[in-house]
């Protein structure tokens, strides 16, 4: 039991680092680890994962570098769809069987990996200081091109739909939902990868609190596993912030796709066994 807690700290550190670098909460890696390796039941694994994502998001949000990239208006608009969906899904998840939740998790991961693979070389960068970004658009300074990058948010209803889906998955399977929002914002809504990741990370904590409260109130959160994982995630998150300024976006996407497929296959195999 004590050894498992220490393993959980290490897993949290790995998930926290990857989560910050990929603009997701790290839950996509933590839930399968806690469920399959540590042996928590699915709902308890989801509850721990959700609490750790709150920590990652709060730290990411507090980093000045990420704050400049994040688009607050777009983030809040998306939360107005994510948070209610997350709340309802979190109550719903408590009456769903473990093998079903594992399958939902696996298929979600595969779906996202496929979207990322098809869109791997897409960039949405406009280098023009006079460009009008509109009500929801934004701009930030990009080091590689040494210019201010502006963007306009396209297909806003799609972004809202993706947010509702992200919230649903957050409450249902215990992830942050950034893994749904970031690719959709980047691939279809014209938001550059870094701005999409920062916006998602900045607001993720809110979705996840909406998901986490029902789990917490119903007693699914085991305090010592939650504490161990959160501490690991906070340490890993600091490393991730340092690394993310030094790693290329394409490499990040490829890493994300590979991790997603591995996790999905393991969850499907274990899910089929019940």
């Amino acid at each position: 039991m004590t050894a498992l807690v220490f393993v959980t700290v290490a897993a949290g550190a790995a998930a926290g680092c990857l989560g910050v670098m990929l603009g997701v909460g790290g839950g996509i890696f933590l839930v399968p680890f806690l469920n399959l390796v540590v042996g928590l039941d699915y709902q308890s694994a989801a509850a721990v994962s959700l609490v750790t994502i709150i920590a990652t998001s709060s730290i990411t949000a507090a980093s000045p570098q990420q704050r400049r990239l994040a688009n607050l208006k777009l983030g809040m608009l998306m939360e107005a769809f994510s948070a209610p969906a997350a709340l309802m899904a979190a109550y719903w998840a408590q009456s769903i069987s473990e093998p079903t939740l594992r399958k939902v998790f696996a298929f979600s991961a595969i779906g996202i990996a496929i979207i990322m693979l098809f869109r791997i070389n897409k960039r949405n960068i406009v280098i023009d200081p006079l460009f009008n970004p509109g009500l929801l658009g934004g701009h930030f300074y990009e080091k590689e091109s040494d210019a201010v990058v502006s963007y306009r948010v396209r297909r806003v209803p799609l972004a809202c739909g993706a947010s509702a889906l992200a919230g649903l998955l957050s409450g249902l399977i215990g992830i942050g939902g950034g893994i749904v929002k970031v690719p959709v914002l980047n691939a279809w809504c014209g938001v550059p990868m870094r701005a999409a990741a920062a916006t998602s990370a900045f607001m993720l904590g809110v979705t996840v609190v909406a998901s986490a409260i029902p789990y917490y109130l119903r007693g699914y959160l085991i305090p010592h596993f939650a504490a161990a994982t959160v501490l690991g995630v906070l340490a890993g998150g600091q490393l991730g912030i340092w690394l993310s300024a030094r790693v290329h976006v394409k490499g990040l996407k490829l890493l994300m796709i590979a991790m997603l497929l591995v996790v999905a296959i393991v969850m499907l195999v274990k899910g089929a066994r019940g």
Binding site: T2, V5, V51, I54, A55, S57, S58, I59, A61, A62, R67, L72, K73, M76, L77, E79, A80, A83, P84, A86, L87, G205, V206, V208, V209, A210, A212, I213, P214, Y216, L217, L221, P223, H224, A226, A227, A228, V230, L231, L234
Partner: protein, 88 residues
């Protein structure tokens, strides 16, 4: 300034969790209470951030975004208020 407070709150929560975990490893009965305090503090930070956004947009008379923020705030507070009302 307010961001610094949020950041500090996360580190206080982390300190409570670390202390609680040490107490738990030492087999102390108080451990769970300390860890729960840390977890609730962690949950309070995003709620406080949403409240800040609400105040900012209300002051700027940006009612569209203030209304969107209220929807978000409701999703966070409704289960808590219901649990408190049920006498937990």
């Amino acid at each position: 300034m307010i961001e610094r407070t949020f950041r500090a709150a996360v580190w206080v929560a982390a300190a409570l969790l670390a202390l609680g975990l040490l107490l738990w490893l030492g087999g102390q009965a108080r451990a769970d209470a300390v860890m729960h305090a840390g977890l609730w503090l962690l949950i309070a930070v995003p709620i406080a951030r949403v409240l800040t956004a609400l105040v900012t947009w209300a002051r700027a008379r940006d009612w569209l975004f203030a209304a969107l923020t209220l929807i978000v705030l409701g999703s966070l507070l409704v289960p808590l208020v219901r649990a408190l009302a049920a006498g937990r």
